[in-house]
């Protein structure tokens, strides 16, 4: 396969201004990432700053409910509350190596914006976070955190004021400052080499899962379940298992309110291949090729595209795609709260829905790892409002 291509997906569909910068980024990643020095810095930060390795927790009560043995990979315990810091730290170190002084990024749920601000401060880099006006409103607590850390939050009010629009604006901004500024892409999306870089930094999740499950159970899991849109936490968990053909991999996307037009983020279910933000992806679009806005209550899944690698893995049948509706997601939050005393992020709750909805398919000896990608503090108000209103 050509570099940066995953079957028909991927590529570098950006304007000429950015191409030389992407080539430089790829070269920098290939040069620095494998060195002992870089690894030492990264692993040091992951361990002492982020709090890795994260535990693999046997969720006994939840297991009972769904009728199989479920382990939660506790990415909610990464400092900042989600897996996002794994990638942010890696790219911040890379930014330093490239001699750039600033990082820009976009965020929806605020988790990646927060992780970027943290990583920027640790590495002595200025940060600017683009965020859709609608997301600024619904993720107010994360916005406060990002600002407290000293990052500049730039509201994006074009389009619907959500993640898709924030990515477009960050790309535009990047074309004006790419020589001094790194765009810290938060998910496995965008033009090559981003999907590769982000998946590499996130695959620390899957590497740990492999070691931990072998230690605890003496065998690999039967199934790994993860939520996603761009695919960073899912690919992070899946990557070390892609060649383990007996391990079933399940990806759960945002179903939104319903699968009808304009009410969903389920690009695998109702999208098709198209080009957005620099790559061929599975994407929500109309018959003319105009990109359609996605909809889900989980801001972090509210993106119309699936990253190139996860698109390819689903298309080729290696990964099974599923979706969860908003209503089920809120119920799943409750289930996790009551069984294990954990408040999951709305995004993470999508993976929980899959387990609950498919419990008949599991037998008691089945070993499942659920990538518990983030904690739900940021969603508290949304969750309370939902239960109050309904």
């Amino acid at each position: 396969m050509k570099k940066g291509k995953f079957g028909e997906y991927g590529g570098q569909y950006v304007n000429e201004i950015l191409m030389p910068i992407l080539i430089e980024l790829e070269a920098a990643f290939e040069k620095h990432y494998p060195t002992a020095e870089f690894q030492e810095k990264l692993n040091g930060l992951l361990k002492d700053y982020a709090g890795r390795p994260t535990p693999l927790y046997y969720a006994k009560n939840f297991s009972k409910l769904v009728g199989c043995k479920v382990y939660l990979k506790r990415e909610d315990l990464v400092c900042g509350g989600s897996h996002k810091l794994n990638n942010a730290l890696g790219q911040a170190l890379l930014t330093k190596e490239m001699g750039k002084t600033r990082m820009i990024t976009e965020t929806a749920a605020g988790q990646h914006g927060l992780a970027t601000a943290m990583a920027g401060n640790v590495c002595g880099l200025e940060t600017e976070v683009f965020m859709g006006v609608k997301d600024i409103k619904r993720q107010a607590s994360n916005v406060k955190r990002i600002k407290l850390l000293g990052a500049k939050v730039t509201p994006v009010d074009i389009g619907m004021g959500v993640l898709k629009d924030a990515v477009s604006d960050t790309l535009r901004k990047w074309t004006t400052c790419s020589q001094t500024t790194h765009y810290l892409m938060g998910s496995t999306v965008g033009p090559h080499p981003y999907p590769e870089i982000v998946a590499t930094f996130q695959s620390v999740i899957g590497k740990e899962i492999k070691e931990q499950i072998l230690e605890k159970e003496g065998r690999l899991p039967d199934t790994i379940v993860a939520c996603g849109s761009g695919g960073s936490n899912a690919l992070g968990a899946f990557r070390p298992f892609i060649n383990e053909k007996d391990v079933k991999l399940v990806f759960v996307e945002g179903g939104g309110e319903s699968l009808e037009a304009d009410n969903s983020a389920a690009a695998f279910k109702i999208g098709k291949p198209g080009i957005l933000h620099g790559a061929v992806m599975q994407v929500l679009q109309d018959e003319n090729g105009q990109i359609k806005p996605s909809r889900t209550r989980a801001a972090g899944l509210n993106y119309p595209g699936r990253g190139p690698e996860i698109s390819f893995l689903v298309n080729s049948g290696r990964v099974k795609a599923s979706y969860a509706f908003d209503k089920e997601v809120f119920e799943a939050v409750k289930v996790m709260c009551r069984t294990e005393g954990l408040i999951p992020a709305l995004e993470t709750a999508h993976a929980i829905v899959y387990m609950v909805n498919h419990k008949e398919e599991f037998d008691e000896n089945e070993l499942v790892v659920l990538n518990y990608s983030g904690r739900g503090d940021k969603d508290l108000e949304t969750i309370m409002r939902y239960f109050h209103e309904s």
């Binding site: 570098q12 304007n15 191409m19 030389p20 910068i21 074009i158 004006t176």
Partner: protein
Amino acid sequence: MNLEDKFKELQKKGEGAHMPHVYYGDPHEEFSLRLIETLVENGADILEFGIPFSDPTADGPTFQAVCERALENGMTPTRCIEGIKKVRERGIENPIVVTTYYNIPYVTGVGNFLNKIKEAGAQAIIVPNVPVEEADELLAEGKKSGIHPIFQIAPTTTEDRLKKIVDIASGFLYVIGVEGVTGVRESLGDSTLKLVKRVRKHTDMPLLAGFGISTRKQASAVVAAGADGAIAGSAYARVYEKNLEKPEETLPEIARLVGQIKQGCIEGYGQRR
């Protein structure tokens, strides 16, 4: 008229070319047609005919709003292609260069799309999010259908890439003088002038400079520096967007502006050494 003949004609007259960029369908189709007529009657040599896209990442705020309005008002790629036919039916013979983002041709099939615009009367296509690395299909299909894929060169383009781009390009080269997106800027940086001079060392192909050009002076400066013409787009949208209820009332102002920018292209040509 094809691009080659147009550039030859202008060379003979000793003029730089002016290519205004219009996104079709903003705020509605009839206005776009009258806008195009006004531009052509008052100084445009080549027409850049934009097909609106939902996520125009190489465009600044003015053209983003333009695309959003056109799409809200129901503009589609099919209606745009019909629009090219209408331009031809109105007797406009200037070369037409279609601009759109790659998803639009991608979903209907690149070859199919190029055939359709060719049939409608276009000569070339600009797809800002297709760099040389991803251009194989566009080049192959362009050759088959007789549509020139136009490539861009930016201040960040390395010498190595510059050679690659010059090798595959046809029609003309689009020189982006500033790092950024389309839109009006107060002053044109020296980078445009530097870049035009750099590209000139590699090719005799016509060069049109774009991004950030909105005045006679700027047009004159890039042509004097060796470009064969100047592109302006947002500058025109900025005039009619002030009166979206009755945009046709702004046509006299647009006529004056396009005349001035064309005048700049002529003056600049005279100052070339």
